[in-house]
Amino acid sequence: MPKVQRLLLVDDSRVARLTLKHLLNNTGLELEIHEAGNADEALEVFQAQQQAFDKALIDYNMPGRDGIELAGELKQLQPDLSMILVTANIQDAIRERAANLKMQFLGKPVDLEQLTQMIKG
């Protein structure tokens, strides 16, 4: 039986989370999704878990700390955490900052095939 992947999904927009969850449910993968609406909530969810997360999908532009700041904090807590920056801000400068943290980059609107490959990988 395939292992269930534990995902942390962080986006301040409820619609963006609904959209992404809808896509994730169509990847055909076994996923356990936990949600947060900002960096503080994400850290709370992260620290309340007994089991480690396999992946975090993080929006860039959020109230308070942005997605890259949050990724830096999560990396401190779990250095091997695989992270994907999911953002409409497709500037090269943002891609570079994500790459510096070894984050993958996924532009919005999210492509199902690309998302599936990233979650599998």
Partner: protein, 206 residues
């Protein structure tokens, strides 16, 4: 007024906005599963006072949409605008038919904000990438009201030079039109000018 930018620079702005809006249209097309028809971007340089008249002539009476501020090598605000009566239909297209009317209504503001976030960022990021500069965008804010309220949201300074880049778009199979508008602050015109000059110099050196 329009001589703030040379003819070459103005032509470059139109071309860059074309590229940016093309990216945004591609994003919208994927979201609504329909072909997006675009007008050629039209640029007008106007003062706040004359902007009211322009907006009154160009835009529907009741508007809904999203504004997003940006700062970096240029500062200003961008807006995605729809006729207000089409707003719920747009939300329905985006979030699907399976939700109830009350759920769709509840999600209206959030959906418009996310749509604006995607489309406006596509344009602005494309502009920044091509000009090898950086722009920071704020969180998107949904609004509804008339053109005067929208202008107040877009222009918070009396001396704003408004570079109004207006693009009409429509969906091929659905009765839905919208507009994108970009307002560039006068105080950042120098940064924009420098970026355009660098871009044109690079092109000429090739």
């Amino acid at each position: 007024m329009s001589k703030l930018f040379t003819d070459d620079e103005q032509e470059t702005i139109v071309e860059l906005m074309n590229v940016g809006v093309g990216r945004a249209a591609n994003s919208l097309s994927r979201l609504v599963q329909d072909e997006v028809l675009l007008s050629v971007p039209k640029i007008d340089f106007v003062q706040l006072a004359s902007a009211e008249k322009t907006f009154e002539e160009l835009l529907p009476k009741a508007l809904a949409g999203v504004t997003q501020a940006f700062e970096g090598f240029i500062n200003g605000k961008a807006a995605l605008i729809f006729p207000e009566e089409r707003s719920l239909e747009l939300v329905r297209i985006l979030v699907g038919d399976e939700l109830s009317a009350s759920e769709i209504s509840e999600l209206e503001q959030d959906t418009l904000a996310e749509l604006g976030n995607i489309l406006l960022n596509s344009c602005l990021a494309s502009l920044a990438n091509i000009l090898k500069r950086e722009i920071n965008t704020s969180l998107p804010e949904a609004y509804s009201g008339d053109y005067k309220k929208m202008l107040q949201l877009l222009c918070n300074q009396e001396d704003s030079l408004i570079m109004l880049v207006k693009i009409d778009f429509s969906l091929r199979q659905r009765d839905l039109q919208g507009y994108l508008a970009f307002i560039i602050d006068l105080h950042s015109a120098a940064g924009f000018h420098a970026a355009l000059q660098d871009y044109l110099s690079d092109l000429l050196d090739q």
